[in-house]
């Protein structure tokens, strides 16, 4: 009997150890091996896909670039203000994430509008205000057609395109993409599903720990 108890206790302790500590989020996207010479030795390193430099206009008509996201983790998505299919659900969920990490200087949010024609900064501002967003922790950005659709497909691996057969003319996926301080992709979550959004919040906590240590 005592042995059984001991065994159970040991398993429990062992499990609780492996659960908490060194679990890291995966790095997503393309990768390529490179050979490097470090201290005279040939070492194989992996280069992961990163988000390239970008520059857009935000809801205050101020330029927002990749530099604004240096030393921060951020969540990004693609939407448009007149979308009445998945966008309201996405941003209802994103708002919960935003409220959880509100005023945390290490966390930012970036929503790209894919409605290049109509979603000018003034319209994005109205949208943000109505959503209850002030300040620039959550950036709603406007950019050229190529830069927005290009970065969606190539850098964030989110499908978004113009489609004349769609009633609203625009089609996009509802992914929330989590990006780390090295601009590497660390997670993709369906922004229309509450359980996945919960997972995103947990993963953000974990990523913050990984990047900045326990101190918040």
């Amino acid at each position: 009997m005592r042995k059984v108890l001991f065994f159970a206790l040991a398993t429990f302790i062992f499990q609780s150890c492996s659960d908490t500590s060194d679990k890291k989020l995966p790095i997503l996207g393309e990768r390529e091996p490179v050979e490097k010479t470090i201290d005279g030795k040939q070492v194989i390193d992996t280069i992961y896909q990163t988000v390239p430099p970008f520059s857009y206009l935000n809801q205050d008509s101020i330029a927002v670039t990749d530099k604004d996201f240096d030393n921060k983790i951020y969540v990004t998505d693609f939407f448009f203000t007149s979308c009445n299919t998945i966008c309201p659900i996405m941003h209802r969920n994103m708002l919960n994430v935003y409220n959880k990490f509100k005023d945390n200087p290490k966390v930012k949010f970036l929503s790209h509008s894919i409605d290049i024609k109509y979603d000018l900064p003034s319209r994005l501002k109205t949208y943000a205000t109505k959503l209850g967003i002030e300040g620039n922790q959550w950036e709603f950005v406007h950019g050229s057609r190529d830069s927005i659709f290009g970065i969606a497909a190539k850098s964030y691996l989110v499908s978004a395109f113009e489609d004349s057969t769609d009633p609203q003319g625009l089609v996009h996926q509802g992914w929330f993409i989590l990006v780390d301080t090295k601009k590497q992709l660390r997670g993709a979550y369906d922004g229309t599903k509450e359980d996945q959004v919960k997972q995103l919040m947990n993963d953000m906590e974990q990523l913050l720990k990984e990047e900045f240590g326990d101190a918040k």
Binding site: P88, L95, L131
Partner: protein, 141 residues
């Protein structure tokens, strides 16, 4: 004696069930409308107005203002079918924007979704049948 007793009990059960089924006719209808209305709501309304009817910020108005729903009960059907533009004041907050219409919904679908909305999210305004919906819809501007 025993037979009489059984006979009496059976008779009593029979009567009660007949009376109950009469009383339940409206309530069964109500439930049927409510359940169907919920399905229609989830498909056509929930994206913006939310599963809890609370809307989203000041982008989409909530459906929790019982006074508004009561005062406008006869125009709800028209709003659902044809949409609405301009400013609408709910719980003393102004909402601006365009609500798209749902032209494909039949009269009965609209009646069902009205029953669902006006009896959920803290509202309790009873039944609204498709006949009434039809009359209301004829008066849309």
């Amino acid at each position: 004696m025993r037979n009489k007793l059984i006979y009496f009990i059976l008779l009593a059960i029979g009567f009660t069930s007949i009376i109950q089924s009469c009383q339940n006719e409206t309530s069964i209808n109500f439930k049927r409308y409510y359940v169907n209305g919920k399905g229609i709501y989830e498909k056509n309304c929930q994206n913006c107005h939310g599963s809890d009817g609370k809307g989203l910020g000041t982008l989409y108005p909530p459906l929790t203002d019982s006074t508004y729903l009561k005062l406008n009960k006869n125009s709800l059907a028209c709003i659902i079918r044809n949409g609405q533009t301009g400013t609408v004041k709910i719980n003393n907050i102004s909402y601006e924007g365009i609500m798209p219409g749902n032209e494909t919904l039949a009269d009965i679908d609209i009646a069902q979704v009205v029953v669902y909305i006006t009896n959920s999210f803290g509202n309790k305004q009873g039944f609204y049948d498709s006949e009434t919906a039809k009359k209301d819809l004829e008066k849309c501007n």
